[in-house]
């Protein structure tokens, strides 16, 4: 018995293993899935909630690790998005298998070969995917030792593992391949694994150079953009000028006759060209675009009114509460128009409001994908964050059973969340499906990426906090307004081309990622000690602009709001902001990063600063579940040149056991620079015709002259502790520290992001 999801897996796994020793049956999954539990927040189904990490989703060991005559293969459903996780996961597998890195293959995200780990997102990769590999590898290692012990007739504890060989005291030895012969790894993982000694790791904790960098700096094939299969054709799409616009006419015939053009596709409001040469495709696209007449059907708010408009739109209200300082975080079922929270009472009540404009993911390389429809299988090469949900979406869009669609991850330009990756994969699939046999490469143009990627949502927050006479927090009321942060591919209608074709499919209704991870309300529940917390998320369900996940989701503005409040309360009670934060925290790891950052920065309560300079401090533990991050920084503003210069940034982070210190530093530095860009400069211009930011001129981001002079990253390692996600942990604290430093430098506490255009309009 198989389920619809499993059949193609087992089929292609069989192909993958052809000739190998481990022919597997996935029949067991069928019965497991009947009693399957809920989906996790990344769109994968939990089968065994007791297992560590993503073994919950894929509990069978041979889904992760296979050993046959050709060697050892480790599989991960997570993908490299430019954060270095491919190398880090590889390191984890190597230590736990006691195998040198170069002695085994490492395969990532391919619907035919790897476990389904849902999306690679939310700083989950090391925490969930890394943990799964950590345990699966340890369990397989133990099975190998046991098998070798039987074959060599030696007690397992007398065997030594070295460089892929299992050695007996008398000098006899077996390779892993020999030991695995006849061994069935198609076994359910167990809840606990044989222990490993962190002090004996050869790779974990070391700055192993990333496996992908050499090709990237020497012009090797590294991206889906670099694939050139024989017979490949180039496609370009023509998009409506804005959401909802319908096509009146387009000169398909004239464009069909242009040089190199093989096909012009016109289906409802969907337009595309397919040509032999890439430049020919671009010229044909331009001609088709110039000829197209559209009718606008929607009106759009502008940057000045968007936050007011958000408050008028249909919404669902999600109320999250925490009662008692150690209380559970409880999120109630949504209601339409919940009653507002009662006013906070206390010796002193402070209020902070913040706004954020729409932001672009803004990948440097516009989204790209390749697809071919051949022998009844549609294969799609994609830089999607989630090949399994994408496969389901594409299958639904084309009316194919899932087993006829295979999605293979190949790197693209960094995405930072839900950008055009899935949509362009759907474009490629749609076109390839109409042109059997021909590999079709689709790449979006810059204006298409900017105009049609799901935006990071505009948001407004309002926080009211009561304190007693000593400054202790007594009540916390956080309200926020936002459109969805998680419009991932839960149905084919979440793929943009599905809206445009004549047989259009509507997106499934939005639904937020629940607490404690949170959506727009991510990080809205404070880590600070407060006995009475209420967060009202006004989840706007009708989107004036399409929005979805962008690094850190609501945490960016929520941390800004919370930390601005902590600064204000510190000032109100005459306390140093760092000391005040420490006094409101119980978590020792939180305090440790704050102390470390303050110390390394040389934080003093009232620094004597020259005019136009300011310092800021901020802290957050991402989602209250992942890495801890504290940041201190110094800025100088130049009102004449309308510029903010970030002088030095000092950060301390705790991400549990560190797998690759240099990789972690790289991520933190990147997060700080990226969040500086968002916070200081970035906003999508919106107006009567919709999204008006179509290029880097109309959407300025930070450039080299504006990059901080210096960033110092201090890491607190926790050997033997769980891996905690890192990639998005600096986004909130960076923004909050900047807001604070700029306030000091300018004397204006501005909580409207981005700061620079609001400071000097």
């Amino acid at each position: 018995m198989t389920t619809d999801r499993d059949e193609p897996v087992s089929r292609s796994r069989r192909a993958f293993l052809a000739g190998g020793g481990l022919m597997v049956s996935f029949a067991l999954f069928g019965s497991l899935r009947v009693s399957a539990g809920q989906e996790n927040t990344l769109g994968a189904t939990i089968l065994n909630p007791k297992l560590p990490g993503d073994l919950k989703i894929e509990p069978m060991l041979d889904a992760w690790i296979r050993i046959d005559a050709s060697g050892v293969t480790v599989c991960s459903g997570k993908v490299e998005l430019g954060t270095g996780v491919r190398t880090a996961l590889w390191q984890v597998a190597a230590d736990q298998l006691a195998l040198p890195l170069e002695r085994f293959r490492f395969v990532t995200a391919d619907t035919a070969l790897t476990p389904d780990e849902g999306y690679t997102a939310g700083s989950h990769t090391m925490a969930d995917g890394g943990t799964a590999i950590f345990h699966a590898a340890a369990q397989v290692r133990a099975m190998l030792v046991d098998a070798a012990a039987r074959k060599l007739a030696v007690p397992p504890e007398r065997l030594v593992l070295e460089n892929g060989v299992i050695k007996a005291p008398d000098g006899r030895q077996l390779t892993y391949e020999d030991a695995a012969a006849g061994l069935d790894l198609h076994r359910m993982a167990t809840e606990t694994s044989p222990p490993s000694d962190p002090s004996a790791y050869r790779y974990i904790g070391k700055s192993v150079p990333r496996v992908d960098i050499l090709a990237k700096v020497t012009g090797g094939a590294a991206y889906v953009q670099d694939m050139r299969p024989d017979g490949m054709l180039h496609a370009r799409v023509v998009r409506p000028p804005n959401h909802g616009a319908t096509l009146v006419s387009a000169d398909v015939d004239a464009v069909s006759r242009m040089p190199g053009v093989v096909r012009v596709v016109h289906d409802g409001d969907y337009l595309a060209v397919v040509a032999r040469g890439e430049w020919q495709a671009v010229l044909a696209m331009r001609a088709l675009q110039a000829s197209a007449r559209w009718r606008q059907t929607e009106t759009f708010p502008d940057n000045a009114t968007i936050h007011d408009v958000l408050k008028t739109l249909p919404r669902l209200d999600y109320v999250t509460t925490r009662q008692g300082v150690d209380g559970e975080v409880h999120q109630a079922a949504p209601v339409a128009n919940a009653a507002p929270a009662a006013a906070s009472t206390g010796a002193r009540v402070e209020r902070v409001e913040a706004t954020k404009q729409y932001v672009l993911h803004g990948s440097i390389g516009p989204s790209c994908a390749l697809a071919v429809w051949r022998d009844g299988i549609l294969t799609v090469w994609t830089h999607s964050q989630g090949v399994f949900p994408l496969r389901a979406g594409i299958a639904g869009l084309l009316g194919l059973p899932k087993e006829q669609v295979r999605c293979v991850h190949v790197e693209g330009s960094g995405c930072y969340g839900h950008n055009g990756a899935d949509d362009v994969a759907a474009d490629a699939a749609l076109l390839a499906h109409r042109m059997p046999g021909a590999p079709i490469r689709v790449q979006w143009m810059r204006d298409q990426e900017a105009g049609w990627e799901p935006l990071g949502p505009a948001m407004e927050t309002s926080l009211e906090v009561a304190t007693d006479a000593d400054g202790a927090l007594t009540a916390w009321r956080h309200a926020l307004w936002s459109t969805p942060h998680n419009e991932r591919i839960t149905n084919p209608g979440r793929l943009l081309p599905a809206w445009l074709v004549s047989q259009s499919i509507a997106p499934s209704p939005p639904s937020p990622i629940p607490q404690p991870e949170g959506d727009a309300d991510r990080n809205a529940v404070p880590l600070y000690r407060v006995p009475d917390v209420r967060v009202d998320m006004h989840f706007v369900t009708q989107m004036p602009f399409r929005t979805s996940a962008m690094r850190s989701l609501g945490a960016h503005i929520n941390v800004v709001t919370i930390e601005a409040m902590m600064d204000r309360l510190a000032a109100a009670h005459g306390k140093d902001p760092v000391a005040y934060r420490l006094a409101q925290l119980d978590d020792p790891r939180a305090k440790a990063v704050i102390q470390r950052a303050a110390e390394a920065f040389g934080w003093t309560a009232n620094p004597a600063l020259p005019p136009n300079r300011g310092v800021g401090f901020a802290f957050a533990r991402y989602k209250n579940l992942m890495g801890y991050c504290a940041i201190a920084l110094e800025v100088e503003v130049d009102p004449d040149r309308r510029a903010v210069r970030v002088d030095r940034v000092v950060t301390a982070v705790d991400c549990g056991q560190i797998v690759n210190p240099d990789g972690l530093t790289n991520q933190i530095e990147g997060g700080i620079v990226q969040s500086s860009s968002w916070t200081l400069y970035e906003q999508v211009r919106i107006g009567a015709v919709g999204v008006e930011s179509v290029d880097w001129q109309s959407y300025p981001i930070l450039r080299f002259p504006q990059v901080p002079a210096r960033i110092d990253v201090h890491m607190i390692d926790q050997p033997g502790m769980p891996f905690l996600g890192a990639a998005e942990i600096a986004q909130g604290p960076t923004a909050a520290a900047l807001v604070s430093a700029v306030a000091q430098a300018t004397g204006r506490r501005l909580l409207r992001l981005p700061l620079v255009p609001h400071l000097w309009p």
Binding site: L81, G82, T83, G84, S207, P209, R210, D212, I213, L214, A215, K216, V217, T218, G219, G220, A221, A222, Y223, Q225, D226, R228, P259, G277, E278, W279, Q280, V282, G362, S363, I364, G365, P366, E411, G412, S413, G414, Y416, Q443, R446, G663, N666, Q667, E669, G670, G671, V673, Q674, S677, D695, W696, Q697, L702, R703, F704, P705, V707, P708, R710, I711
Partner: protein, 163 residues
């Protein structure tokens, strides 16, 4: 037929003379280094050297390369023997997604061939046209500074840059 010299080798390609150099490099010559980012001269992902000057290959018509030497990141070294900037980027792991990186290396090469020991400000101003969205700037600057300190690309320049 259009003739062009890329990384010291001469190629003849059958394309519309108005085709931007980028498309010829990537498709006709199967070179991956120069990337499409914006097609508008706004991001630098497509940067290559034409007679030692950095140009946006997404805008530069292939026909304009006649009589000129085109260099791409592939010409600076190989995986076996990376060039000085490539090695510095590897040493500092100055890559996140890496999509911008070939363009960064090419633009930096132009500066370091011309100026032996550029100042921090010169480096930042020179790199201004190239965008990185991952925030790898600190490491990119660090890698460029490291090669600038040796002055080795400039010395190579004095001998007449190898093509």
């Amino acid at each position: 037929m259009i003739e062009l010299t890329v990384n010291g080798a001469t190629h003849r390609v059958d394309v519309d003379p108005a085709t931007p150099l980028l498309y010829v490099l990537r498709n006709e010559l199967a070179l991956n280094g120069a990337k499409f980012g914006c097609g508008m001269g706004q991001c630098g992902a497509c940067t290559v050297l034409v007679d030692d000057r950095p140009v946006f290959s997404c805008l530069y018509p292939v026909s304009s390369t006649a009589g000129r030497r085109v260099r791409t990141v592939e010409g600076f070294g190989t995986p076996e023997k990376p060039g000085p900037l490539q090695q510095a980027f590897i040493d500092r792991q100055a890559v996140q997604c890496g999509y911008c990186i070939a363009g960064m290396i090419v633009r930096a090469q132009a500066l370091l061939e011309r100026v032996a020991h550029p100042t921090e400000q010169q480096i930042r101003e020179h790199m201004n046209p190239n965008l990185c969205r991952c925030g790898t700037h600190m490491r990119i600057l660090d890698a460029i500074r490291a090669v600038a300190a040796t002055g080795e690309l400039h010395r190579a320049g004095e001998k007449g840059p190898a093509s």
